[in-house]
Symmetry: C2
DNA sequence: GAACTCTTTCGGCTCTCCCGGAAGACGCTA
DNA sequence: TAGCGTCTTCCGGGAGAGCCGAAAGAGTTC
């Protein structure tokens, strides 16, 4: 944690972030948005283009496919992605819903794989999509198996409210985590997306280390008590099989 | 094209590249490989971690899932990805082979989507994977519809030989491009991967602008003359449907 | 063709990156 | 446990590189 992290590096990635959020932009646009001199932004964009991580076309700059490349290469190195693969499709087939594999990174839940069942709702879910831990079933599933100190430090911060259902009381969350450990799965009811219910089970390896979570999402209307129980079983089984695969590899 | 592109930016991404290639590394490792002082590398790594684009665990640094995020967001903005979606699965089902969608970026062919048929050979193909244009069917399909001046400048450079079959003679390539335009599809026979045949059709929009290429790859043994012709038809149809979808959107 | 906007170039001042050196952390061996 | 080797982390002063104002160039609009 240096006092002053290399400013150029930070600025470069700030520009990348800005480009990514808006899907691209022109030098002057960025300059105003980031409150930097145009010439400075211009210099950075040149440098970024030089590296190949940004492309220009008609003065519009965009993140290049290099990001995909680096991202996917890295993704392949997560053993859990391979270990879960068949189970993910199996779960999608059995439930017909939207199924994802997530991991925890920097106190956030990040999607690594998506598999859509036949009835799956179209969600804005893609590899790399991230969300706070406390607002989702997979997040809670993972929190339940993280180091208590880290959990505490995470819950101590502002628990952002994303929907009216989002749980922002850390005591309530701690109770839920306890129940996750007992039942082996977590549920969220419209806590991240209104009207959407998610059921998730944590994936642990034989040493008990957290490796991710498998999550099924569907519309409230379709998921009554009985169906939720069914899905919970499917998800738990998938997590279990994945663990076995992990330990084999 | 500034004379001296911001050194910090270039260095930062050099480090990212190195991390990506080796799937992560320690400060001292990078320092030796990149021939930089350890302390310098350390400073950069700190800054990169600060941005969230690199993570550390047990002193091992890795590109974070941010790259996936940026990459995928950008991918979604390519209309051709949506336009081709159903066709890609259709082609995979019909042929049973390995099907990909590629685009051209910075004089390279880049995979944007992969769909594996039931018999598909396992290829090291993932979104973001890149390859020279002249060594692949999709590359040739795209070259055939690029600005002649650009084509010339690309073919004028060193035509890297990847397999003994790779075509490194620009005149031969130019002839092939002509035939691609006539027939509507391109073929490569072990020019990128020995023993592998690929058949690809370019995707153009109504203005005739190049938007990408659809590619089917399979083992030589399975693809005799007749089957190649079949696949060529399937691929051409898929490209055509995609064009229609594109023009609709 | 004048006025405006946005991109690109230029260059000198100043700030910040750079890296040697040293301290600290960790692991290994005896 | 002490001692040694390796790696990470911290520190600070010098010099080189980034920064940005200003102006020129490119492209558009009316």
């Amino acid at each position: 944690m240096a006092d002053t992290p290399n400013r150029s590096v930070v600025r470069a990635f700030t520009i990348v972030d800005e480009l990514s959020e808006n899907g691209g932009g022109r030098a002057s646009e960025l300059a105003t948005r980031l409150e930097m001199p145009v010439s400075t932004v211009h210099d950075y964009l040149q440098a970024l283009v030089d590296t190949g991580y940004v492309t220009v076309e008609d003065k519009v700059y965009r993140p290049s496919t290099r990001f995909l490349e680096v991202g996917h290469r890295q993704r392949h190195r997560f053993e859990v992605v391979k270990a879960v693969r068949d189970e993910l499709t199996a779960v999608a087939e059995e439930t017909g819903e939207h199924v994802t594999l997530l991991i925890e990174e920097n106190n956030q839940a990040v999607i690594l794989a998506v598999q859509e069942g036949s009835e799956a709702i179209t969600l804005f879910a893609y590899p790399g999509a991230r969300m706070p831990l406390h607002v989702t079933a997979p997040g809670k599933a993972m929190l339940a198996h993280m180091d208590p100190e880290r959990v505490e430090s995470i819950l101590d911060r502002d628990l952002v409210e994303i929907t009216p259902q989002t749980i922002t009381d850390s005591d309530v969350l701690l109770e839920q985590l306890e129940s996750v450990r007992e039942r082996g799965y977590a549920v969220d009811e419209g806590e991240r997306i209104a009207g959407m219910v998610c059921i998730a089970a944590p994936v642990l390896d034989k040493r008990g280390e957290l490796r991710g979570a498998i999550c099924v999402c569907g519309p409230e209307s379709r998921l009554d008590e009985a169906r939720r129980a069914e899905i919970a079983d499917v998800v738990k089984r998938a997590a279990n099989v994945t663990q076995v695969n992990l330990d084999y590899v």
